[in-house]
């Protein structure tokens, strides 16, 4: 029965040049996403690689935020229960009760913004299917050809933009 259990994706995928060959919007248009394997540990498209980099960064930060204070308290109870100046919280209580939820909120907003920037970078436009729903982000999607938010982009990504960032 099992004639196809190698778990290798049988169909070849296109545009697997690592996303460095040219503009991201270009590589996005050249990518056939329906023929690109989905595997969390082995991203196959430039977009997914970039996306997963954001996801893993967020995930590690999240894990430290959620479990770090508790593990530290178990390991060093005396230090972690020190009373904080002014607000008088025991340190462990503050880190968990106040920093935990607010940290997750900040991380979520960070991720949603990063994702909007990623859409802009790849020239993905949600405006045709949405009203300007908002959420306070500066989306405007990619109507500017991915030019906006230049200052937010990290230098390494700019270095990859061999075409000078003009896409349309």
């Amino acid at each position: 029965m099992a004639d196809n259990n190698t778990q290798d994706s049988t169909d070849e995928r296109t545009a697997t040049d690592g996303g460095v060959a040219g503009h991201h919007g270009q590589s996005h248009r050249n990518t056939d996403y329906l023929n690109a394997e989905v595997n969390l540990l082995n991203p196959s498209t430039p977009f997914m690689r970039d996306h997963l980099r954001i996801i893993w960064t967020g995930f590690v930060t999240w894990a430290i935020l959620v479990f770090g204070p508790v593990l530290l308290t178990a390991a060093m109870p005396d230090l972690m229960t020190t009373t904080m100046p002014v607000i008088e919280f025991p340190l462990h209580y503050f880190l968990v009760a106040v920093c935990g939820p607010s940290g997750a909120l900040i991380l979520s907003a960070w991720y949603a913004r990063k994702r909007d920037q990623l859409d802009a970078k790849y020239g993905i436009d949600h405006t045709t299917t949405t009203e300007s729903g908002g959420g306070g982000s500066e989306d405007a999607a990619a109507t500017d050809g991915g030019e906006r938010s230049q200052s937010d982009r990290d230098p390494r990504q700019d270095a990859e933009r061999s075409d000078g960032g003009v896409s349309e």
Partner: protein, 562 residues
């Protein structure tokens, strides 16, 4: 950790609470319920598309509020304070688990689920794994989650109802039990009259009511007692040293392992809960799905950052009240008292009766809003996934709606019966549902979306494994509370390492391993399925009414740009 809480379980009358009929609070609650019904009537619906996902017309802020109302049940509004008061630092595992879980949901699942475009969790599992058996297991799980979760809500509604309506005590039922029946009748009656469109509109209203009531209670109690001024969320720190040491002492009531197991379970449970996921289908596009998660979390944090502050105020007032003992004394605060601490705090602070009634009404709003969402998803599992897909494929819309409504009534009756003598406090009851969602559904969603080679055999093996690992500690810990006098678990070692309240910490890695292992040893899923998964990760925007499957079958072969 639930040891203290099970004391006085049989009586279920909160210590020191004024149990009597009060006119102004009663008018407040009934007026509020009347408003819900009116809104439900105005937005009433007759066809199934509207009934289940509100025609996918909900925007970011409104959906965020619906996420908030749907999320913040009696467990958040009432049960959270109970845990923080009685279990101290361990209670914070719930504060953290029930908020930070949304981030994991956001980064790994929200947008992909939206793209997959299925109405319910069983639909997702059935279509992703091409299996009616998988769909049936997911539907049964969904129904079980709605049921277990709702028991906690019924307990909360009834305890708060006692303050407002007093001891109804009809036909041999105790005051608490009569109130369970009364409140559940109202909830089911309301739900059968409105579908989800009405419910979503209601949820925005319900969110506003419950958050206003909670924050008003917290601010006014803090202000009038001189505990806090403008920022009680931080100012309660100065009160902590005056409370019993048990309030802040780390691991006084639980081991670090139990803390982490509970928190982990709540996080993965958040990601696996069908009534949370269904919120992503009601928005226009995946960008709105992402941002509504952020706004939803913001609305949730408004309550969660305040809960420990409110609890600190309530605990202090309880200690000072001459009619009761101290919180950690002997006798200490009972579980049912802790479950209504939010209301009792306002009463002990000698605030006007109508104001205490407002805080109580907020608790009832929280419970009804969540029960509404749960019953809708639970009944849609019955009508959509079991009845229409497995029993009667030619079901007309009328038949589907009829079966859906019967499902709601069945859930209502089951929940009422179970809530008459609940085995645990609100938050613990709700946590059992989270362990179940985390152990069975979360691995299927996660692997189904992130590893295209996850197949039918893997999913079936994984889900059955998850169900088994959830059921064993439930039997070990919950059954003894009904059958033995002490209520101690059958196997203490098992309860220590696989606690019912946090069984997902053990279950999730095992279910992942089983699912991946079995998938790797059997045939890959068909290419059509893989393409649907790929479409869920494609950054290409999709139309509002489009699902990944449509794109793949319609025009997937030749992307428009080529």
């Amino acid at each position: 950790m639930t040891g203290t809480a099970t004391v006085l379980q049989s009586e279920l009358l909160p210590q020191g609470m004024d149990v009597s009929f009060k006119l102004a609070p009663a008018i407040l609650v009934l007026g509020m319920l009347g408003t819900f019904l009116l809104i439900g009537f105005v937005f009433r619906v007759a066809d199934t598309e509207d009934m289940w996902v509100a025609g996918r017309s909900i925007g970011n802020i409104e959906n965020g509020m619906a996420i908030g109302a749907n999320w913040m049940s009696a467990a958040s509004y009432l049960g959270m304070a109970a845990l923080i008061a009685l279990s101290g630092f361990y209670g914070l595992a719930f504060v953290v688990g029930w908020t930070t879980g949304y981030f994991i949901l956001l980064i790994f699942m929200a947008a992909q689920m939206r793209r997959f475009g299925k109405y319910t969790a069983p639909d997702f599992v059935g279509d992703r794994f091409n299996s009616d058996s998988a769909r049936a297991i997911a539907a049964i799980t969904t129904f079980l989650i709605a049921f277990v979760y709702a028991i906690g809500q019924a307990r909360g509604m009834a305890l708060v109802g006692l303050y407002i309506f007093g001891d109804l005590g009809f036909a041999g039922f105790s005051g608490y039990q009569a109130m369970v029946i009364f409140m559940m009748t109202i909830t089911v009656g309301y739900l059968t009259l409105s579908g989800m469109l009405g419910a979503t509109k209601n949820m925005a209203v319900q969110y506003v009511i419950l958050i206003s009531a909670f924050l008003a209670g917290m601010y006014v109690v803090g202000w009038t007692q001189g505990y806090s001024t403008v920022l009680p969320q931080i100012e309660y720190g100065m009160l902590l040293s005056e409370l019993g040491n048990e309030f802040t002492e780390p691991f006084a009531n639980s081991s670090p392992y139990l803390w982490i197991a509970t928190c982990f379970s709540l996080v993965v449970g958040t990601c696996g809960l069908p009534h949370v996921l269904v919120r992503f289908y009601t928005v226009e596009n995946e960008r709105t799905a992402r941002w509504s998660t952020v706004t939803g979390l913001f609305f949730i944090c408004l309550l969660y950052l305040g809960a420990p502050a409110y609890t600190a105020f309530g605990t202090r007032l309880y200690d000072l009240n001459s009619a009761t003992g101290t919180t950690y004394g002997d006798p200490g605060m009972s579980g049912s008292t802790a479950d209504v601490l939010v209301v009792i705090a306002a009463q002990f602070a000698n605030l006007p009766q109508w104001f205490v009634g407002l805080v109580a009404a907020g608790g009832i709003a929280a419970a009804i809003a969540t029960t509404a969402g749960l019953f809708i998803t639970g009944s849609s599992a019955v009508s959509h996934d079991i009845y229409t897909n497995l029993i009667n494929e030619d079901a007309t819309q009328r038949q589907q709606i009829l079966v859906g409504r019967l499902g709601i009534i069945a859930l209502g009756v089951l929940t009422t019966l179970a809530a008459l003598d609940p085995a645990a406090p609100i938050a613990a009851l709700v946590s059992y549902a989270f362990s179940l969602a985390g152990a069975v559904l979360f691995p299927m969603f996660f692997l189904g979306l992130w590893w295209e080679n996850t197949n039918r055999e893997g999913a079936l093996a994984g889900m059955l494994t998850g169900l088994t690992i959830w059921v064993i500690p439930m039997i070990n810990e919950v059954v003894p509370t009904y059958t033995t006098s002490t209520g101690d678990p059958f196997v203490p070692v098992l309860a220590q390492w696989v606690p019912a309240i946090g069984s997902a910490l053990v279950a999730v890695p095992i279910v992942f391993a089983v699912t991946i292992g079995v998938s790797a040893m059997t045939d890959e899923p068909p290419i059509e399925t893989k393409r649907v998964v790929r479409q869920c990760h494609s950054p290409e925007p999709m139309g509002q009414q489009q699902a990944a499957e449509d794109v793949v079958t319609d025009g997937g072969e030749t992307p428009a740009d080529d």
